[in-house]
Structure formats: C-alpha cells, structure tokens
Assembly symmetry: C2
Homo-oligomer: 301 residues x 2
C-alpha cells in the first residue's frame, strides 16, 4: 500500500479506443463534441483519434477533421495513434503534438492486428521516433495482450518486458501495458507490472485494462499498490473487443475516478462532469452506459 | 499480499439476497431448481431463503416450501435468514440447521429496514442465539451499511466494530460485513476490515459487497490482502438495492471465482457450472447476466 501514488493521471482513450470498434457511423461533429466535453472535465490526456489507414479502421477515417475541429486547451495533451511514418506525417499535418505507436507482446496478435511481427513493427517505429524527436513530438507506446492473447493464449512475461523495454529505449516517454482481452487477474497483473518495472522506470509506465471478465478495477488496484500512476480508461466503458463476442470494453473512466478519489488519490477530474459526458456518449450510441458509477450517480442525482 | 488466503469459502446469497428484490413472481419450483443447480457447483454455503415475515418480503413467502423442496447435500450448509424468534421457529420447523440474523451499522437504516434500532435488534437476537445454541444450530450475523448508508450517509467505523463485536460475542460463528449500497472503495474497505478485526478474529469475518458503483471486486481484493477468507456473492450478480434506482446487485459469484482462481486461491467451485447456473437464472429473470465473467465464458465457449 505504501507505494500507491498520491495522484494519478488518467489517459482518456474513449474517443479512440472506444469509438474505433463501433459499428454505427458516428458523425465527425459528435466526435469533436465528445472530446470538447472531455476537455472540460479536468482530464490532462485525451487520446483524440487514430491516423491508422482508413482501410483498417474506417470508423476513424475523419481523423484529420476531428483533430482540426477540437478545441485544444492549454495543459491538455491530445495524442493520436500512428502506425508508421505515413501515419505520423498525416498526424503532423493535422497538427498533432503527441503521437502513440502500438505493438503487442503476442506475435500472433500483432500479425493479425497489424500484419507484421513484433520486431518488424518496432523497426517501423524507429523512423517515427527519430522524426518525433527532431520535431519535439512526444511518443507514447502501447503494448497489447500483456496478460493473454486471443490467438496464442498465454503470453510469456519475458516478451512483455522485452517489448516494453524496446519501446522505452527507442524514446517512448511512456509505455502503456494493455490487457487487451481483459483476462488478467490481480496477482498476474501485479507480477507483470513488477517484471516490466525492473527494466522500465515506473513513472514511464501506464496500465490499460479491459473489463471483459470484470477484473479491470481489481487489476488496477493491484498495480496502484505497485506504484503505477498513469491509467488508461474510456468514458462510459466505451469500446468492445472485436475478438470476443459479448466482451465489454475498456474500464470505465468514471469507475476509475470514483475509486481513486475514494482512496484519496487525486486525478484533477470532475466526476460529475465526466459522468455527464459518459451519459451523453451512451445516449449518442443508443445504449446503457458501461459505467456503474455513472449509473449510480444518475440514479442518486 | 502475504496475508491473502490460499482458499476462500464463497457464501452464495443469490437465492435469498438476489431474489428478495425481484419484482417478478418466481415460481417455488424455480427457486428450488436454482439452489439444486448451485449445489452441484462445489459451493459449500448456499443461503437458501428468508423466514422474514411475508408482509415484508412477499417474494420469499414460500420459504418453507423452498427449504423442504431442495436436495440438501452432505457438506453443504443452507443457512436461512431469520429476523426474530418467530422466524427462527418457522425456520426450524422447516428443518433449517443454520440461520442468519441481520442488523446494520447505521441506526437510520436499521430503523427503516427492520423497524427497530440497532440495540433493539440485538436484543431480539439474544433469545434466537440462545435457542440456536441449545439446538446445535449455527448462526451467522450480518452487519449492513458498513461503508455508508442511504439515509444517514457516513457510518462511524466505531459503530461497525461495536455491532460486529456484539454479534460475535452473542455467539455468531461468522459475521458478514456488508457494503449494502456499494459505495465503498478499497482503502475504506481495508480500513473497515482492519478495525473490525481488532475485535473479531479474522477467521470469523466475511465480506459482502454490492457492485453499485463498480467497486466490488477491487474492495474484495483489498480485503483478501488483509486475510479475509469468506466472501458473499450472488450468481449472475443477482439482486438490486431497493434504495437506489439503477443500482446493480451483489458482486457476481462468477467474477469472484474467476478472480480467486486466477490468483491461485482455491474455492472448490466449478466456474463453468456456476456460469451455466448464472445464465439459467438470467434467462429465467428475462435479463442479461450481471456477471462479466459469465458473459465472457458464454462468448468464448
């Protein structure tokens, strides 16, 4: 418990990780409004969109328009996903000042997800990291499937450590460790984070949990106790996992903030405004919010 | 972490705490089938029903028929709720060999819930405990609202400790500490359990979390780390809180078992059979299961 942080930075990934899996076509204006609403909640990091090829992720084909349209506030970073140099160039053209690259700890997953092996994807990132350094652009790195893979099953811990270390060594200021299919449990999440932290300093690590098996907040608690202080989450629990029918999405930002505040850990986020935004998004998507705290707040308000 | 138990006993409360808040009329035969299905999962404690006055809980007015109808297996305890001596007599007549009494740490809640103050309710239990001791009947004690009350808000920790200690001193072999409205967060849950454990031995304590704010598994993890080894849960997350619109029910047994097994903590429960039962119950109630692990298992199966 003594290692738990006194404040946590939430990286809100709803506009990207949440919306990229939606079947419905979401108007560009609504995406912009979502980000602008999130900007008013006190969040400091909002992943805005992805400059992956529209062939792969048609849902975010309007990335440039979205990025141009949002009201970029001082003190808030709006990272965008880029798969390679082409994506980086598009992101820069749109005005992005922080980008994120992504690979996996599972070779099988990375091949299916990006049509490249892990090492090949790292090689693709090298020129992105070089250009970003020259441009003064911050780069975040994602490692997927750190606690399990839908294709290969178990993922060797050593691979998670190796890939996270490589991203950090290449210049990623922060590496986000993602349980993409939400299969992890607290002891395994803790063991994974401890292992990575032997090679990458804890302040450069973030955790990213999906709530597919209902374990996200418990896993997060275990990782907080290890000292992690950056947490990815998506308002209203937006986003599904395209690889598992019935799977739920990211851990809901509202539930994370409620837990952290209840533990006396600061986030700077106004929970009421965040929950309002979650309900607005859920209404837009025509579904119940995936945030229990959001639901409870609505019932008690 | 070192204090985490190596095995946990799940007290399945779905047939009672889950069904008592249902609006739909559930046939007696279905209640019996639910318990019989649960008996085949490896659970060792299944709270079967409540001998509270049918005026208060009409949903469980068939308590005697349910208790008579279930296939009582060796090695499984089937406690039933009793509010007073009258309820105890009815429970005994039906053949109950374990009962549970209940009060709250919040005076306001207890008055609304049972029309009696806390001390008055403890006085009511005294003759029940005496008769139970003479009859060789085990008595479990519940303390509600240990982390917050829908009427009075904050609940003094000293009251939680006092009430838990009183129940234990009166002869309850186990005291279950309930976050009835699911408002707790891990640090508070841990602090509460630690405080109670200074007066009641940890092996005589259980925790009972509702997932209203999405915190149940995280709270449970914090309490496991303190050494608690008995956990109340309801299959499919059955049960709502009648005091908060939109509130979800008990923590889902499936999610608890998935977490515990993932941490190498034994429960003796077959998760697949439990999840089957959860889906059977959800279909009966005409709704989606409230268990994310149950949903994920169905999708992957």
């Amino acid at each position: 418990m003594s290692r738990s942080p006194t404040s946590v930075r939430i990286v809100e990934v709803g506009p990207r990780d949440g919306l990229q899996n939606e079947k419905a076509i979401i108007p560009t204006a609504a995406k912009i409004e979502l980000i602008d609403r999130l900007s008013r909640t006190g969040l400091r990091s909002i992943e805005a969109t992805s400059f992956v090829s529209p062939k792969w992720v048609p849902q975010l084909a309007d990335a440039a328009e979205v990025f141009a349209g949002i009201d970029k506030r001082d003190g808030i970073s709006y990272p965008v996903l880029v798969p390679n140099e082409t994506g980086y160039a598009r992101a820069r053209e749109a005005g992005a000042r922080e980008v994120a690259v992504f690979t996996a700890a599972s070779e099988a997953f990375n091949r299916r997800n990006t049509n490249a092996g892990i090492d090949e994807s790292l090689q693709r990132f090298a020129p992105v990291l070089e250009r970003a350094a020259a441009d003064g652009v911050k780069v975040r790195g994602y490692v997927s499937t750190v606690l399990g893979c839908p294709y290969q099953g178990a993922v060797p811990l050593a691979e998670v450590v190796r890939v996270a270390k490589a991203l950090h060594a290449m210049g990623c200021y922060e590496v986000s460790l993602g349980d993409t299919i939400g299969v992890g449990t607290p002891a395994k999440a803790r063991e994974m984070l401890r292992a990575v932290a032997t090679e990458v300093p804890m302040p450069a690590l973030a955790v990213h949990f999906h709530d597919t098996w209902g374990q996200a907040l418990a896993n997060l608690l275990a990782c907080l106790e290890e000292g992690v202080a950056v947490v990815d989450a998506a308002v209203s629990g937006a986003g599904g996992c395209p690889y598992a029918k019935g799977a739920s999405g990211n851990v809901a930002s509202e539930d994370v903030v409620y837990m952290l505040h209840g533990m006396g850990i600061r986030t700077g986020v106004d929970l009421d405004l965040l929950a309002d935004t979650g309900r607005w998004l859920s209404a837009l998507l025509g579904r119940d919010t995936g945030s229990k705290a959001g639901k409870a707040l609505a019932a008690s308000g």
